[in-house]
Structures are given as structure tokens and as C-alpha cells.
Amino acid sequence: MNKVKIALLALVAVLLVVQIIDRSREPAQMRELKQSIDRLNATIAHAPVTLRAAADPVLGSGQPVDDHETPVPPPTLTAPRDGQPKLGMNFLIPVDRSTFHPAWQGGTLRVFNASPKGLNPLTDNSAIKGQVYALCHDSLCDRQAATPEAWSESLAESVIISDDYLTYTFVLRKGVMWQRPILAKQPAYAWLDRDVELTADDFKFAMDMTMDPNVDCPSLRNYYEDFASAEVVDRSTFRMRWKRRVYTSLSASLGLSPIPRHIYGRNADGSEIPGATLGVVFNKHWFDEQNGVVGVGAYRLEEYRNDERMVFQRNPAYWGVPLHFERIEWNLQVKQDDPQLIAFKNGQVHSHGLTPLKYKSEILDHAEKRFIAIDPADAKAGRKGELGWERVKGMSFSYIGWNMRKPPFDDRRVRQAMSHAFPKQRLIDDVFFGLGLPVLSDVLLDSQYCNHDLKPYAFDLERAKALLAEAGWSDGDGDGLLDRMIGGERKPFTFEVKYFANSPEWDNTLAIYRKELQKLGIDMKPVPFEFKELMRIYEDKDFQAVVGGWQMDWDIDYFQLWHSSQVELQGSSNHCGFANKRVDELADKLRLTFTVPERVAIAKEIQAIIHEEQPYTFFRSNVGIFVWQNRPALGQPAPAERYLAGVIKGLDSFHPLVNRTRTFWHFRK
């Protein structure tokens, strides 16, 4: 009897559970249905536009439509529209539609990404937010990745710079519409559900918000220190005025993105916000609280489920050259390295990046047979496998910094000796498995500003010994350690290098370096610190030697890192105490120079001086491994939306890897 009762109870419990699960899935199903209906409606509404675009002939290169991989030769640019800034005439490169082929359009691209912390265009600063706006939004002018000095048309059809780089006048493209946000579908926000044209007023609003002291974007405002005023001349003409002629005004003006006044200038019920409190409300705007993103770009943010995924849908009304994908999905759910790699191998994402350790196990040791094994004769052998892999250059570099304010590193010869004793290439080969390029300065190796004439500090212990002897270091008391008389006392050459904890690469690097220094008679102690502690160490300049890294940028500015005025400033980036009058002069001059050959000359001279002084022993710029779903096994058909074509074309046409490489990607049919 008992057993029967228990069985009945169990059955009832199971039925209850099934009912609860059923009920709980209903709202989610309703939501999905509604979204697909909206999507269908949107497609139908814009169908005439899509068909028209398909009927347009493909402009430009005259290459065969089914050519997936031949790299694209750089377009020939004719003056004056060659992208180089000039006074008094429009120099923007015209829009190039030759990369887009309607036949390749379609499919959903899946990649991994991290959750953005916030999506406000000004007050949130994460890299992910930048990627979201790169997909969904545009700026006045665009830059070619291979030639960052060359600006091309984007939202601005023309720009005239006048008054010796103090005034920028833009003529905007007409008929560009703001996207309708997903929120507009909710009845409470029905007032958002209309088409609004982009006008000069939106750019003025962006500048007003950036300069408003109540808006929480102090670091962005630094770039507009010399900004004077923004003016709406008429509906599609916008003018920016600067107080001083300074080079940063070029990228700050041409790279400006508009902010929709019809959304950020209003309350949630549609009423306008009084001018005085615009900035205050902007900080905590209801649109950001609903995770809204609206732009004028190629994709619309269609779905954002926190920690699950972000989905971008192609904007059929886009004015410019779209990517070939219909949808782009970011998987936010899988966060760890191992599960991500497994998901990539299972075909759940189309491209990924490998850390050096995974590169070693998967490719060097060939654990994954679908990668082509490494071939010393052919650097690009990885392109032929079912899973393609290739080395891609990154935009950051690492270094060991020496505190130039006190002994032993106040003497240039000692610093140069340290660089001679640093086995750079061996470290790159052994610790990072060859993933890394040795750098001699803080400028991107592919940039025209990079001084390639600098003579590297070769790994030469004899030379290092000679330099140290010149600087007065010798083994006076015969204990195997170098020493010197400092302030009347015999001090041994021993110092601490402070570095990032939780980094096995730095552990190994410093261990190898330590061994080399021991041969010279120098005792180096590597001491790991947590990130926060290390930031405090930078601030207090409380180190003899410290490890660090910087992001390299397209724009060169030597002020922050190397200007002597920053040496004693609290919280400055010049923590090594580098102060050189000539570099100060040149850095100030660089800020005011606009012609590229002159800029290059100045930058190269600065790099030469820094190279001579060695405040940092520059280490490596990082190189990552990019992997992607390349092609099916020989003889197998390609399932839909599984394998990417055009990846190699992108890698050959643009480097380092930036969003522009995706211009050629499409699914193999």
C-alpha cells in the first residue's frame, strides 16, 4: 500500500513539474514569435530597396564574382581625393563599393565576445562597446586601415579645412536615416517608431554632450581641450572650430560620430528635456537602462540577452557598403578558454583566437588534425586546412621600464647594458613559441612612422660587460657580484623587477633574463604583484625596474609617455622619469605639424633619441593566432553557413586584423 501511495505521489509530482515547465516557457515562446514576425515585417517593408540593390551592377574592380581568395590590390588614389588632409579642398576618398557582391549575401556569422558593461556612446568606455558601435554606427569620415593617414568619405561627403586647421566644415550625406530601436516595438515607446533623418543637429548634440561638464566622460573630453565651438550652418552642413592649431583636432573632428537628439534629448515619455539638465540626464538615460543602441550603420542591434548573446541584424536601408552577412551573433555565454575552443571545433562559432599555450598544443604539437601542421618553409601553410589558422599582428607591446631617477639606472650605459643582456628573440621563441615581433620603439611596426633604421641591441654579454665597466661597475670585493661606490658606500648591483602576478609568461621571461644577468654578476629579483598594487607602484614610482605594456595607436602622440612635464605629475604615464629637452621640443612640434613627411621625420628622430637613452627595454609586440572554419574535408559537401570564404583575401589586404578584413567574408556555397 505504501509503495502504491509513493508511486502515485511521484506521478503527481512529475506532472506538476511538467506543467510548471510548460507554463514558464510560454512567455519566452511568445516573445520569439513576436520577434520573428517583426523581422519578417521589416524585411517585407524594405524588400523593394533590397531588390534594387541586387539589380545594381557591381562597381569597380572587374574581378570574377566567384573569386574567393585573390588579394585585392590597393585602389589607386588620385589627388586631390587621396585622403591626405589638405587645406581648402575636399580630400576625402570616395566610397568604394567594389568589395560587396550581392551573390554572396546571407548567412549568420557566429563569434565569441564578452558582455559589454554599458552601451552609452560617451560615458561607457569598454572595448566591446566600441565594437558594437563599429557595427551599428558610422562617423563623419572613415580611415583606411592599411593607410591610417588617408581619410575616406563616410557620413560626410566632403570636408573643407580652413584657417590653418582651425575650422572644419563638413557637408553631410543626405537621406541617411537613424535606425529604429528595438524598444520602438513596445507600446510605451511607440513615439520612437518613426523614421528620423540624420542632420547636422545630431553632430552638434554629440559635441554639446561631450563638452557638457555634467556628462561623465572626462577622459574623452581631454581630446577636445582646444575645441572652441560647433555650429549648424544648415540641415546638412556642420562646422567645428578649434582654438589652436593642433594635430589631434584632425582625428577628433573627422572621427566624430553623431548622437540622436530625438532619443537622448527626450524623456521616456517623449517629452523634451530642458537644456540645462540635458547633461545630467544623459549620464543616467532611460535608453541606456533599456540597453538601447541606435546608429546609422550597417547593422542594427536586434537582441541583447545579458550573458547569453547579442544579435545584430543587417540594416536593409544602409547607405554604405554592407558586410555580406545577414545576421551577426555574438555568443556571450561561453567564457572560458577551453570550452570556447571546444565550441569552435564543434563548429558552433566561425572564428576564434588562440593563446600561445593553445597554439602550442593544437598546432605545434598537432593535437587537432584538422589544422595543417606548421611548415617552416611556408608561413601561410595554415590557410589550406579544414580549420584555417594564421598569425596576425596585434596592436600592443610590452617592455621592462627602468627608473631613471636613481641608481643604478640613472646611467644610460647601464640601461643599454641591460638591453644587451636581454635575449629578446630567444625569449620570443621559447616562452611565446615564436608569437611576437621584437620592437625597438613604441610605434606600430607597419606604420610609416616606424623608424626601421634603429640598430637593435643585440644579445651580447661581452658588450654589456664593457658598458657596465665604463659606468663604474666592477667586482671590487670578489664576491661574484658587480658593485660600485655610491655615496661613499660600496653597493652591490642588485635590483627588483616588479611584474604582473598570474602571468606564467612573465614568470618564465624574467627567470631566463635573471640567468643571463647572473652571468654578468647582477642579482635581479623578480617580484610579482596584483594588478591594483602594480598600478599603485606606477603611481608612486616606487620601483627600480617594472614590467608593463601599452596599446599602440594609429595616431602618434609623444606627449603622455615621454614629455618631461609629465615626470613629476601625479598619475602620469611617464613613470620612468624620462626627460630630454630635444624630445620635449620635438614632441611639442609634432603636435602642431600636419604634413606627413615632416611628421614622419620628427617621429623618427624622437624614436632614435629614445632608442639611444633606453628608458625602456622594449620587448615584443604581440602576435596572435587567428583560426576560422575554412573548408570541408576533401570530397565532402559544404553544409550551409558552416565555412567562411574570403578570409584569406581579408588577411592579405589589411593588416593587423581589424574589422575591415570582414569586408570580404562570406559563406561558401
Binding site: V18, D22, R25, A28, K117, T123, N125, S126, P213, N214, V215, D216, C217, P218, S219, N222, P274, A276, T277, V280, V281, K284, D288, E289, N306, D307, E308, Q333, V334, K335, Q336, D338, P339, I342, A343, K345, N346, Q348, R370, S396, N502, S503, F531, K532, M535, R536, E539, D540, G548, G549, W550, Q551, D553, F559, Q560, L569, Q570, S572, S573, A633
Partner: protein, 502 residues
């Protein structure tokens, strides 16, 4: 009994408060300072991951924005006790001198002192204006004016847009304050050196702001307000107020309430936890009973050894091994071998449209491996506890009596011995309620399940104090309730203890 329960419930309140205060203090010590935020070059907290690369952005001199942010989050107030209402001129002078460069004082100590002064708010405005009015303290005019401008800076909130007159007044006043900060340099030998040709005019302008009776409303405080501020204008009291009015907002996800974030992530964790508890207890208790009944047989010894072997295998290792072997597609002789189990999450992509039985099967398929990894470690401990308890009971005299009476072995075990060994199991079960709430980080990371463990780890990394405090409140509350329930159950189960509670 009732009095006992009431007494226990009342005792929970100070326990809870004590735990929360300690947690709050520890979190406060971790949160980034004003200057750190200004250097981080943005409103993002901490760094992006553990990358060693930092964007070369200059240190921001625009502290007013950062102070606004601190005030919005309630981080400008001291943690537990607020004595700012009793600041006077001498305190402020001593404080200013602490921010000057001197031998033995590091830059970070100076900036911490500076930051604390700037966040002191309207209580410090009066004493600072006294400093500015005192000709004997002319060397301190520079830092005092900077502190005055920032303490007197009034932060606006979106709700203020309803009162446009006040907004204009405040904006003008803030602008006047920002424009009249006297420029100065800190020199290691000379201390503060004023570096400004318009210093006198600026000083008068700042004093005029304070002298204006219309502004006094914002800056002066009555005696009663000062006394109340000691305990009621603190970070902890702000936190408690927001907790009880349900307006506790997370710092890393500023558009969501803490409890709704936790609720979203808790559902998955709850399912996993309850199933793993059911599995662990459902498997271990019978196993323990069986082992006790067949003491020292081959089966018992083999089971013990096997369980200890399982126990010694760490769960992250087992999880990763299972993930690699059973969840990865592999290629053998050019043919793709699909994996046996899925590699992420608890549901498939199209699972929303499956029929409910298929959805449940899909859930079981996804959840099998995570569940296994979660529960296998508890098999050993629970079954050994059960076995040990039963063995103790078998030594007791009532069991001997029952055997002598001729009761069946089954009856002895299930009707007599088991009930007496419940006491220990109830003790173990006290933590169950709290365990339901805790996220299991390892399984969630390996199998990519967006549950509570990952949420709390992320909150800890981003120093999101409200989220961590909110989850502490819930887990501590559940733990205390669990302990109380366990104590009540003791009384229910064991008549000997009932009299103790009366």
C-alpha cells in the same frame, strides 16, 4: 518552544548586521579610489581582464565627474561611522597639510588623503572657507580652493529637471566654483606653491559663494543634522535603506536592480543544485545504510576504496577531462565523429520550440555531465557519515533488545536505528538551504552555464559592492534560517531535547 523560536529569530538580527558590516567594510577597502578612477581614464571600473596593456590616456584633471559618480553610488560617505559633521578648521588644516609632499609620505598616501578630503562634501565647506579667509594660512590657499570647489560642487540628478530654477542656480554655482580654483604646484622642498596671477580674485570669489545666504542652505547644517549624520549618513545606512526600499542597483550593470539580476541567474543554479542534492542524498544514504549492514565484507571495503578515490579527484580536473572526451567533435580517418554530450549551456538552440517531453530530455542530456561533476564529491562524505552513524546505533542496547525480541534486521534498521541517526543528518542538512543558493563556479565555468557562481565571481572582479552585498544578505539569511529549522527539527525528532527548549 515558541519563546525559543522567537528568541532565535530576534538574535538573527544582530548576527546579520554584524556579518553585513564586516562584509561592507572589506568591500569598501577594495573599491577603487577617486584618483585610481581618474587615472583609469574612463568610467569603467578596474581593467579589462588581466591584460597588461593600458591605453595611454592622460590622467584626467576633471574630478567633478568622478565625484558625481561616487555620490550617485553612495561611495562618498564613510563606511559605518560619519564624523564629518564635526569637522572644524583645525581638522581641515591638519588634513590639508597631510596632502603636501613630505619626506616619508608616498604619492599614493597623499592622493588617498586628498581624495578623502574632496569627498567630504558639504560639511567641510564651512571650515574650508575659514581656511581661505585666514591670512596666516596663505600657503594652503591652493589646495584649500581645490577642496572647496569640489566639496561645494553640488551633484545634479535626473529628477532635478522638474525644478529648472534650482538647476540653473546650481549649474552657475558649479561653474563659478570650477573656474575659481587657484592654481598651485606641490614641491617636495617648498610644499605648496601658488602658481596663479589671479589668486586673490579667485579666493574672494570662492568666499563670496559661501557668504551668499542663498547658498548657505546647501552648505550649513544644523546641530541635529550633524548628530544624526553619525550613523544615518553613512555608506552602510545608504545600503540598508536601498536594500529595504528595493532600490539596490548594481554598479557593474547600472540599469538593473540587484535582486532581479540575482533572480535571473538563480533559476539555473537552483535547478542544478536541487537535482545534485537529490542525486547526492538519494544515492549516498542507501549506499551508507548498505555499507553499514554489510560491515567489513568485500563489498564494503571495495566501496570505501572506490569512494575515496572519487573524492580525491578534483572536480575541475574531472570536469575538463569529461568535457574534452565526451563533448568534443573529433576527426578519425577524415570522418567526423560527433560528441556524445553537448559542450555548453543547459538547452539547445531551438529548444524553445521542442515539445515538453523532448525539452525535458534535452535538459537531461545537457545536465547529465554537470550534475555528475557537481555531486560525485559528496557521495563519499554523505555515505560515510550515514554509515558511521548507523554503526554507532548498532552498538546501542535497544538494538540488542530488538534483536533478542526477534525483530527482523530490516525492521531494526529502518524502524529503529535510522531514526536515531537522523540527528547528524539534520546537522548536515542545516547548510542545505544556503547551499541551494550558492553557485558552483567550477561547473558553471567549464560547462558554460550562466549561473550564480559566475555572476558573483564577475561581481567580485569588478568590485560591484551592491551585488555582492545583496547576495551576502540572501545567503546569510538562508543559512541562519536553515540553522533555525535544523534546531527545530532536532526538537521534533528527539523528545529528549524538547524540554531543553522550553
Amino acid at each position: 518552544m515558541f519563546a525559543y523560536i522567537v528568541r532565535r529569530l530576534l538574535l538573527m538580527i544582530p548576527t546579520m548586521l554584524g556579518i553585513l558590516i564586516i562584509n561592507f567594510l572589506v568591500l569598501r577597502m577594495q573599491s577603487p579610489s577617486l584618483v585610481e578612477q581618474a587615472q583609469a581614464g574612463g568610467s569603467g571600473k578596474g581593467g579589462e581582464g588581466v591584460s597588461s596593456e593600458r591605453k595611454a590616456g592622460g590622467a584626467s584633471k576633471q574630478y567633478a565627474n568622478h565625484i558625481d559618480r561616487f555620490r550617485r553610488l553612495g561611495n562618498d560617505l564613510p563606511a559605518v561611522v560619519n564624523l564629518r559633521g564635526f569637522l572644524d578648521k583645525d581638522d581641515v588644516v591638519a588634513w590639508l597639510r597631510r596632502t603636501s609632499p613630505a619626506a616619508g609620505r608616498t604619492d599614493s598616501q597623499r592622493s588617498t588623503a586628498e581624495q578623502d578630503l574632496w569627498l567630504a562634501g558639504h560639511y567641510a565647506v564651512g571650515p574650508l572657507s575659514d581656511v581661505l579667509a585666514d591670512p596666516a594660512l596663505a600657503d594652503l590657499y591652493g589646495p584649500a580652493s581645490q577642496a572647496f570647489a569640489l566639496c561645494a560642487h553640488t551633484s545634479l540628478v535626473p529628477a532635478d529637471q522638474r525644478d529648472p530654477i534650482r538647476v540653473n542656480v546650481v549649474r552657475t554655482r558649479n561653474q563659478v566654483l570650477a573656474q575659481n580654483v587657484i592654481g598651485y604646484r606641490s614641491d617636495r622642498l617648498q610644499g605648496f606653491v601658488t602658481d596663479d596671477s589671479r589668486a586673490e580674485a579667485k579666493r574672494q570669489a570662492l568666499l563670496a559663494v559661501y557668504a551668499d545666504p542663498a547658498n548657505r542652505v546647501d552648505y550649513a547644517a544644523s546641530g541635529g543634522q550633524r548628530w544624526r549624520s553619525i550613523l544615518f549618513e553613512t555608506g552602510f545606512s545608504t545600503f540598508l535603506t536601498r536594500l529595504f526600499t528595493g532600490t539596490l542597483v548594481s554598479e557593474s550593470r547600472p540599469n538593473q536592480y540587484v535582486f532581479s539580476i540575482i533572480a535571473d541567474h538563480w533559476k539555473l543554479t537552483f535547478c542544478l543544485n536541487i537535482l545534485s542534492i537529490a542525486l547526492a542524498w538519494g544515492f549516498s544514504i542507501p549506499l551508507g545504510i548498505r555499507s553499514a549492514r554489510r560491515l567489513n565484507t568485500l563489498e564494503d571495503r571495495a566501496t570505501t576504496n572506490l569512494l575515496f578515490l572519487l573524492w580525491s579527484l578534483p572536480s575541475f580536473f574531472i570536469g575538463t577531462v569529461l568535457l574534452h572526451h565526451f563533448c568534443t567533435d573529433s576527426v578519425k580517418d577524415g570522418v567526423l565523429q560527433p560528441a556524445w554530450f553537448p559542450n555548453a549551456g543547459l538547452s539547445s538552440a531551438g529548444s524553445l520550440w521542442y515539445s515538453t517531453p523532448r525539452y525535458l530530455l534535452d535538459l537531461a542530456w545537457h545536465g547529465a555531465l554537470p550534475l555528475l561533476v557537481l555531486s560525485y564529491a559528496s557521495f563519499t562524505s554523505l555515505s560515510r557519515y550515514m554509515r558511521g552513524n548507523l554503526l554507532d546505533q548498532f552498538e546501542a542496547d535497544y538494538v540488542r533488545t530488538a534483536r533478542a525480541k526477534g525483530a527482523s534486521e530490516d525492521g531494526i534498521v529502518y524502524r529503529h536505528a535510522l531514526r536515531n541517526s537522523l540527528l547528524t543528518m539534520i546537522t548536515l542538512g542545516a547548510g542545505l538551504l544556503a547551499e541551494l543558493f550558492s553557485g558552483v563556479l567550477i561547473v558553471e565555468l567549464i560547462f558554460s552555464i550562466p549561473g550564480l557562481g559566475w555572476l558573483l565571481l564577475d561581481a567580485a572582479k569588478q568590485q560591484d559592492a551592491p551585488l555582492l552585498m545583496g547576495s551576502t544578505v540572501i545567503s546569510v539569511g538562508l543559512l541562519l534560517i536553515g540553522i533555525l529549522v535544523a534546531d527545530i527539527l532536532y526538537a521534533v525528532v528527539d523528545p529528549r531535547l524538547r524540554s531543553r527548549y522550553a
